[in-house]
């Protein structure tokens, strides 16, 4: 019994104080460290992909797909409906175009004008785009339609941010 190592009063106090002090230091440092590395931990908004459609639905003809995203816009947080024209090219590439006219922001339709059955048409000022979204010279738009980032996972098409061209 007596050959058990005895803990002196001094040692005992040392251990306790180190332990308590350690806890306090950790308590103070942890939030600081958390703040320092916080930006790294934040999920990036740019990587927000939303599932939009099943890949089987996508044909060579552009089709309109709609989905809902949460958007925080200064004061308001709201659900915004997004739309894209999606089709498959001859090389089996999926293309998703924004329907927002680059002229003044109307919504363009595929083949809605009988004279141009293979172009996107803007009803506001007769702006036109070819199937790949490039604006037809001589019509009001000055830039091609933006394309959505896309990826395919488990047979579903996911769309992300739109990129200007």
């Amino acid at each position: 019994m007596s050959d058990k190592q005895r803990v002196s009063r001094r040692q005992f106090l040392n251990y306790t104080l180190t332990g308590v002090g350690g806890f306090m230091a950790a308590g103070m440092l942890a939030p600081m460290v958390r703040f320092a590395i916080d930006p790294v931990l934040k999920p990036s908004a740019a990587g927000d992909f939303q599932s939009v459609a099943s890949v089987d639905e996508i044909t060579n003809e552009p089709q309109r797909f709609e989905w809902i995203v949460d958007q925080v816009d200064g004061w308001y947080e709201s659900e915004v409906q997004k739309t894209a024209w999606v089709y498959r090219t001859e090389d089996d590439e999926i293309v998703a175009l924004s329907p927002i006219c680059t002229h003044l922001g109307c919504t363009v339709d595929w083949a809605s004008n009988e004279e141009y059955p293979d172009q996107f048409y803007c009803p506001c000022h007769a702006g036109r785009y070819t199937k790949d979204g490039v604006n037809v010279p001589g019509t009001p738009p000055t830039a091609p339609l933006p394309v959505f980032d896309h990826k395919v996972e488990e047979g579903m098409l996911y769309l992300g941010q739109e990129q200007d061209r």
């Binding site: 002229h103 922001g105 009803p123 506001c124």
Partner: protein, 152 residues
């Protein structure tokens, strides 16, 4: 385009492309308990519909500030609305549409200097529900076709 700083800046710069005006007509009567809910709902539905319409054609359509009025005095309101229209037409606007769920305007239509777009309202229900959504979508589809017919 909407009546906000950002949109109006764009409007001022690109005026020549914007020739269509939509004025929402929104009735209310704070005295009458039995119509309060209905009118509040119609106001929400009106704003939702006109904003979605504006979104569809934002490059050519300006959404005017809401025209709010106390229900009842249609003769007096007709005059005031015509004053609004007269001032807006100086910009100029070629096509002016008045969008409302208030049935009573139908009788005064010929005295208004704009095209009345009256559509029947829904009974009060959840604006987010899928029936309301599909109703609004369908209405917008038809109204936008109507507006396009004026453009051609």
């Amino acid at each position: 385009m909407q009546w906000t700083k950002e949109d109006i800046e764009l409007y001022a710069a690109e005026k020549k492309y914007v020739d269509t005006l939509i004025i929402p007509l929104i009735p209310f009567n704070p005295e009458a308990d039995h119509t309060l809910v209905k009118e509040a709902f119609q106001r929400e539905l009106n704003q939702l519909t006109t904003q979605l319409l504006e979104k569809e054609y934002r490059g050519r359509v300006l959404l005017a500030p809401d025209y709010n009025y106390i229900t009842g005095q249609y003769e007096h309101e007709t005059q005031r609305i015509n004053e609004w229209i007269e001032k807006f037409k100086k910009q100029p606007f070629e096509h002016v549409f008045l969008f409302t769920f208030d049935t009573k305007w139908k009788r005064w239509e010929q005295n208004l200097n704009g095209n009345l777009l009256w559509i029947p309202s829904l009974n009060e229900r959840n604006l987010q529900s899928s029936e309301t959504r599909s109703y609004v979508k369908e209405q917008i589809h038809q109204i936008s076709e109507l507006i396009r017919a004026y453009w051609d």
